[in-house]
Symmetry: C2
Subunit: 456 residues, 2 copies
């Protein structure tokens, strides 16, 4: 069978790309080291009917389908599997409705996160989920991976904002899951089940996402610490104070050094660890919260700490966080870890990571959503150094083992994809894995939806 010809029979000719050079650009996401295979074609549908036509064709011929947003994923979830059709949503990028009265937006899956946030801002509304990939990643991808971000500590994750989904199932049916009302318990939460299922249970063709009123300006609290332990104590103190910050980020000395080597900001001479908190409660209560966070930082032994409500100054303070990743990438390919542990165990987990780094002679820098206990150890290997890569791989496995041992999870917000399949098997019991397989079999009986992701 000529699959490309078949595809062009069921959707307009120009939707189907089969130039190998063009296809090459769609085969993998940003996960270093995750394997990917060859796709037969890339299809860029314009509407739900076209998606359905492609899924039905794939079902008929038992061809795998891999849905793909912007490819910013970090677990290989959107990587091509052999002989698949890549379904790319770049041409379905419209915000279809902004509903003020019910406070939700209806969007196509290819809308870029920041674009939606921009549209909302103009309307005095706010879509909270803010993964670091927000300038590029799409809402469809965010939903497929249940993306997190900085604001989760106060505002939750993507799942908390998904009211309804239109999905094409593995049987090729178009279904509407969830609802447009604020509450609803009619039947199983199949909408929530789709969120974070990484394209293995259904292909998202439309999403209705909850919005919030535009929020007030945030205050930023920065603190410099000599040790991870002191910074950890500051995080615990904030939690104990009852203040829920709108962000609470940690940047370690390896990140600070990399940023300094690139931008010469002099951070690493002043601090070994930087904590960055934000408070967005309106009015004086918010000012009071920021002062409480400041006090927590100081009492935990910060060598310097300050509150800023000046937006530019605050952004400068956040530069250390923002620039860490690109600064580290200058040193070599970065493998991003994503473990999440009980918040109180962040210092313990960071200490273990330091030990792991020494043990495997691997540079591991750390950014962490400290307020959530979600750590991103960044493993850097010099380009082309195969031995370093093997050592880093061993370190990666040790980090996963430590996170599980501390009662944590192998993935806080990036997803299982390909890189964490082994980790998932270690984290949950065989019976829970069986439940996963049963649900997969129930909703994708032909096994055509992103096969091999999450479950091997």
């Amino acid at each position: 069978m000529d699959l490309v010809a078949e595809l062009r029979r069921v959707v307009p000719h120009d939707r189907v790309l089969d130039d190998p050079d063009v296809i090459e650009g769609y085969l993998q996401d940003h996960a270093e080291w995750a394997p990917y295979a060859q796709a037969v074609a890339v299809v860029r549908p314009r509407d739900t009917a076209e998606v359905q036509a492609v899924v039905r064709l794939a079902a008929e011929h038992r061809v795998p389908i891999v849905p793909r947003g912007a490819g910013t994923g970090l677990s290989g979830g959107a990587n091509a599997v052999e002989g698949c059709i890549m379904l790319s949503f770049e041409a379905m990028d419209q915000v279809l409705e902004i509903n003020h009265a019910e406070r939700f937006a209806v969007v196509q899956p290819g809308v870029v996160n920041d674009d939606l946030r921009g549209v909302c801002a103009v309307e005095n509304l706010w879509y909270p989920p803010d993964p670091a990939s927000a300038p590029w990643s799409t809402i469809g991808g965010n939903i497929a991976t249940n993306a997190g971000g900085l604001c989760c500590v106060k505002y939750g994750v993507t799942r908390d904002y998904v009211l309804a989904l239109e999905v094409v199932t593995g049987r090729g049916d178009v279904v509407r899951l969830g609802r447009r009302t604020a509450k609803g318990v009619a039947g199983y939460d199949l909408c929530g089940l789709m969120v974070g299922s990484e394209g293995t249970l259904g292909v998202i063709t439309e999403a209705t996402v909850r919005l919030r009123p535009k929020r007030d300006a945030e205050r930023t609290v920065a603190g410099y610490f000599d040790s991870i332990v002191a910074a950890g104590e500051a995080v615990s103190a904030v939690s104990a104070s009852g203040v829920i910050p709108s962000a609470l980020e940690l940047v370690d000395k390896h990140c600070l050094e990399a940023v300094d080597a690139w931008k010469n900001m002099g951070l690493s001479t002043e601090a070994n660890v930087v904590l960055l908190g934000r408070c967005d409660t309106p009015g004086r209560a918010g000012d009071e919260e920021a002062r409480t966070v400041l006090r927590c930082f100081e009492q935990a032994g910060a060598s310097w700490a300050a509150v800023s409500s000046d937006e530019q100054e605050a952004e400068a303070l956040f530069d250390a966080r923002r620039l860490a990743y690109p600064a580290l990438e200058r040193l070599g390919p970065v493998l991003t870890e994503d473990v999440c542990v009980p918040k109180a165990l962040v210092p313990e987990m960071l200490a273990r990571i330091e030990k792991t780094a020494a043990q495997h002679d691997t540079l591991i820098a750390n950014i962490a959503h400290a307020g959530d206990g979600n750590l991103h150890p960044l493993l850097i290997t010099p380009i082309g150094d195969e031995d370093a890569k093997r050592r880093a791989q061993a370190a990666f496995e040790d980090i996963i083992a430590d996170a599980i041992e501390l009662g944590g999870t192998v993935t806080g917000e990036h997803g299982v994809g390909l890189l964490k399949r082994g980790g998932l098997q270690r984290e949950v019991s065989p019976e829970v894995l069986d439940m996963h397989r049963a649900v997969k079999q129930a909703l994708d009986p032909l096994g055509i939806l992103n096969p091999g992701k999450i479950l091997a």
Copy 2:
């Protein structure tokens, strides 16, 4: 087979009740008109192992299991099915852990909602979900039905607070779903899928629920209105103002009259509709919010409106809400409806309910979580009047049809149980019902878990 003897073989003798008079008290929840059948036995397990033993025995003999909390449900979800074992969790009522650092509680399913809230309050913590049944209903039942309440408008529903569950599956396995960390995306959200599945996918034996820091005192804003339309405009104005109140309740004239007839509070002579708002944002910002809500009430034409931050005074204002249900019950059995519509369509829905009441000559009073668009039409029929009951049944069906026509759902927070199975079929497509059946078949292949609920 002597099932009672078999049960007493696998769990201690005293756990198994088979006195018909005792069993009778366990056969139905608070859903007026929902059918119930005869149970073979009631089992009151003391721990997970005992639950597992009972489920395994039931699996072996293909005997239905009906899990039951306090029986305060309003859809028949906990009603006995013929020949079943009722699993009552009244003896598994312990709060096992309060974790301050991670801010969660681990509880057995039989803990009463208000008891958990009480334990939390002592620890300066707060478990938000507050169904009206909180003084009696259990956390297990709240989770099984994804219970709502007054605070949902700002703080969400029970599902938003369930971090992890221990569940006995239909295969008799004990599994742990979810996590103890703030975030996590390892695998499908099977924990969230269990929430609201009404005991049809698994039996909850332990729950880890998210807590919040104890909140500040609330301010109460009360408004009297001459018409439903004016009250609806006030609700819309609050939404448009960007204030998210911590409660926004509506009580209609039939409720006010019933309360007056009972308590002689003189409410119905002053108002046709009462709106009750609450604001719990701390400090001046919260005071400002309360003033904004007050302004919204006044501009929508309230005949009287006031803010109170005095707790006793506020409680007195909320009496109209609290006393409505018992006041109506004095008039006859109350069938509680639970539709949820887009917030902006609350006045339209209330107008349709009024028409339905006239058409079917049925007394229908209304309490509504107006801020969520969640209405509780209360259909009252005189005891023993079979014709009135038939008319009320027809009105019930019309209300469901209207809610669906307005883009709403047949159940906002009470669940499908038995009473809304037809409504669910009208609300979702045949393909979505098929997905429900496939998931049920995948997780309860023997069909022993609360069979016939949600799905016929």
